[in-house]
């Protein structure tokens, strides 16, 4: 039971991660990357700094 729950959680994380990376690849870079602090929340684009 414990193993099933944990594996399900891991699979959910894997799906979310793929979604996150795909989102990052499609122009919405900064809002997913968050590295620079310059995400344009509305447009999902980077301000260039």
């Amino acid at each position: 039971m414990e193993k099933t729950v944990i594996i399900t959680l891991v699979l959910i994380c894997a799906v979310l991660l793929v979604r996150c990376l795909v989102k990052a690849f499609r122009e919405e870079t900064c809002s997913s990357c968050g590295g620079c602090g310059l995400a344009d929340k509305k447009n999902g684009t980077c301000s260039g700094r």
Binding site: V10, L17, C33, G35, C36, A39, D40, S47
Partner: protein, 695 residues
């Protein structure tokens, strides 16, 4: 109450005119403001409801003109022409009025309703400039509103003026540049031909297009050449240009620019007076030292060293508290959840992974604060200027240093995007290729972890500075190689603006530090958390039964080696073994491609899984110190690899898009950085061993 109407207002202006600050004041949005040119590359939107109007503000990229010399100019121009905003607010640096108004002369040619916001009017006053805004408004035939963006002064008046202009309560007059009889006659000929083809002009004003043609604007020539009957217009243009060239003994574009500056100069002479000598202000005095041929570079090095010294000196104790906090959290969870998969999931996966990254949060905050101080003061723009001479020796110019600094100050993603300010395609690609070599905020925890684990605490800032200097040297060396071998060609010239120095406000610094810091936390709570869980699962499954008589330590170690991640690690181990790493280092590096902080979180998970007794769990730094398979030399080789190897997934995605999109150049980037990283790391490790520095 329903809004009376929606209006779109574009904010245009020169780089560093305070446009982004005004945008923030008008919309309440939190957009970063940096005190050096090229901050805004894409247009951004923000809206506000004022006096029952929904006003959408669009922050256009900072430009000096509306020619087709750079991406920003095209983005700004196309928006003004094609999207037809209801009002254009032209933000003018009042302390540098002559140069800033050059853009105005082009905006008014586009025939859009313009309001002039004379920003930084306080600085103009301090410089001893006395600007008669009413007179200026009369001379230009436009509304002029003095503002002080940094203190949010004049925002209300600006909004009122925009509304009044939109509602027709203010009339604007079209007072344009008088190009003189000769040029005007030629413009008329071109306009006549263009009028006959107005259906194909896509909304571009005739007068403006005619001026662009005479200026030999590359975009205008291509645009007109591509439309039906465009050949005749281009033929007339050649004839007109030839005539003007003979008449003025100079290129028409030079004469046109002269006329524009003449118009501006005339307006300024009447509306502006100076009580003190402008040229000898404080900024100039500081620049005499800071930009000195011999002192410039040492001062820049000193500034970078000061940033690292400040960061390491003051963040050390706070980082220690954070580490203890996560250690205690792990112990607490171990006491609550019984030993088993769920316990390991939380302690080894989530806490060890995310905690390993979040432990360095104070260090990142201190670093961002120090960098924000130099950015906002205006020094960072000087750094690029200082680097210009050196950059030229490496086939680039100072403008290419800005994206590299942006990468150091935060992330390679905006660094790569900031290369849009470079006009030359080859220069742009080279800069994009070398920008990821810089130490971004995500690489910082890796360096802090290994420096803290293997070098004396008082050496932290020195080693970090050394790594920074190395990253610049590697970037420049790579640029030279790429320029000589792959991207041969001339380097384009540019004029770099030096904004006046300003005293940064504490509020501004804290806001900038927090915004960047908050995203670090956000990233740790999302992508790093997810990857940590996957990495944990990779080391936990498939589970194997420990053999009889095998110690717990040996069983834990065998489990990791037999796991999915362990097998991948073992597969890549031969490639990283000559660099002094074992399979664990290989796995951490591979995982780090998703996000560089993941190198730290993966190490955290690996060492946490290797712990048998939760009561004896030690912070990651100590675990690395106590691991005999590491040594300072191996740590140095590992850091060298981390410094150079391929950028994170997101940075690579942006590189792909910005390079064309080009899969060819993206694959080249992956190959180039991996080979370079391996070779440099090999040299450090094997060279160190040969010299007897360590094993």
């Amino acid at each position: 109450m329903a809004a009376k109407g929606k209006l779109t207002v574009a904010l245009a202006g020169n780089p560093n005119s305070g446009k982004s600050t005004i945008f923030n004041n008008l919309t309440g949005a939190r957009q970063h403001v940096g005190n050096y040119p090229g901050v805004t590359v894409e247009k951004k939107e923000g809206s506000v409801v004022y006096k029952d109007h929904e006003i959408v503000f669009v922050d256009l990229p900072g430009t000096y003109s509306l020619s087709a010399y750079s991406e920003e100019e095209i983005v700004a121009r196309d928006f003004v022409v094609k999207d037809k905003p209801d009002v254009v607010v032209h933000i003018v640096d009042a302390s540098n009025i002559e140069r800033n108004l050059y853009l105005y002369t082009q905006l008014q040619e586009l025939g859009v309703p313009v309001v002039l916001a004379m920003n930084m009017s306080d600085i103009a006053e301090k410089k001893g400039m006395n600007i008669d805004y009413r007179e200026l408004s009369r001379l230009l035939g436009k509304s002029v509103v003095p503002t002080v963006g940094s203190r949010n002064r004049g925002t209300q008046e600006l909004l009122d003026t925009v509304i009044d202009l939109h509602e027709g309560k203010i009339k604007i007059e079209k007072i344009g540049v008088d190009y003189g009889e000769e040029i005007s006659a030629e413009l008329e000929k071109l306009e006549k031909l263009l009028r006959e083809r107005s259906g194909a002009l896509e909304g571009y004003p005739l007068e403006w297009l005619a001026v662009k043609l005479l200026e030999n604007d590359a975009w205008a020539l291509e645009f007109i050449g591509g439309m039906p009957g465009g050949g005749e217009v281009l033929w007339q243009n050649e004839k007109s240009r030839g005539h003007l060239k003979r008449h003025f003994s100079d290129d028409p574009e030079v004469v046109i620019a002269d006329r524009r500056y003449g118009f501006i100069s005339g307006a300024c002479t009447e509306a502006k007076s100076c009580s003190v000598e402008e040229r000898h202000d404080l900024s100039d005095k500081i620049d005499k030292v800071v930009l000195n041929k011999f002192l410039g570079l040492p001062i820049f090095a000193l500034v970078m060293y000061a940033i690292f010294k400040f960061t390491f000196t003051f963040s050390g104790p706070v980082v220690g508290w954070f580490e203890q906090f996560f250690e205690k959290a792990g112990e607490l969870v171990s006491n609550v959840i019984p030993e088993g998969l769920a316990n390991s999931f939380v302690v080894d996966g989530v806490i060890a992974g995310v905690g390993g990254v979040l432990g360095f949060f104070p260090l990142v905050l201190f670093m961002f604060f120090a960098i924000a101080f130099f950015e906002d003061s205006g020094y960072m723009a000087r750094a690029a200027f200082v680097m210009d001479r050196i950059m030229h020796k490496f086939g680039l110019h100072g403008k290419s240093f800005l994206p590299m600094m942006i990468s150091t100050n935060g992330c390679a993603v905006p660094g790569i995007m900031a290369t849009r300010t470079l006009d030359n395609k080859k220069d742009r690609l080279i800069t994009m290729m070398v920008t990821p070599f810089m130490i971004c905020g995500a690489k910082l925890p890796i360096f802090a972890l290994f420096i803290g684990a293997f070098f004396a605490p008082e050496q932290g800032a020195n080693i970090m500075f050394l790594m920074y200097a190395l990253s610049v040297a590697i970037a420049l060396g790579s640029a030279l190689v790429l320029k000589k071998a792959v991207f041969k060609g001339e380097t384009s010239h540019f004029v770099m603006e030096l904004p006046p120095y300003r005293v940064p406000t504490i509020q501004g610094l804290l806001l900038k530090m927090w915004e960047r810091g908050w995203l670090y936390i956000k990233k740790a709570g999302t992508i790093i958390l997810l990857i940590s869980v996957i990495i944990w699962a990779g080391f936990t499954f498939p589970q194997m039964e420990p053999g009889e008589g095998v110690s717990e330590e040996a069983a834990a170690s065998a489990q990791m080696e037999q796991s999915f991640a362990g097998r991948i690690g073992k597969f890549v181990e031969p490639a990283v073994r000559p660099l002094g790493m074992d399979w664990r280092g290989g796995v951490a590096l591979m995982a780090g491609v998703a996000a560089k902080e993941v190198v730290v979180s993966t190490m955290g998970t690996i060492y946490s899984l290797g712990e048998v007794d939760p009561e004896e769990a030690e912070p990651l730094k100590e675990a690395l110190q106590n691991d005999p398979s590491w040594s300072p030399l191996k740590a140095a080789a590992f850091l060298m690899f981390c410094l150079i190897y391929l950028p994170c997934f997101v940075a690579m995605s942006v590189f792909y898009r910005e390079s064309g999109p080009s899969m060819k150049w993206t694959l080249f980037l992956i190959f180039w950085t991996t080979v370079m990283a391996w070779a440099a790391s090999f040299l450090v490790y094997q060279g160190g061993r040969l010299l007897g520095i360590g094993g």
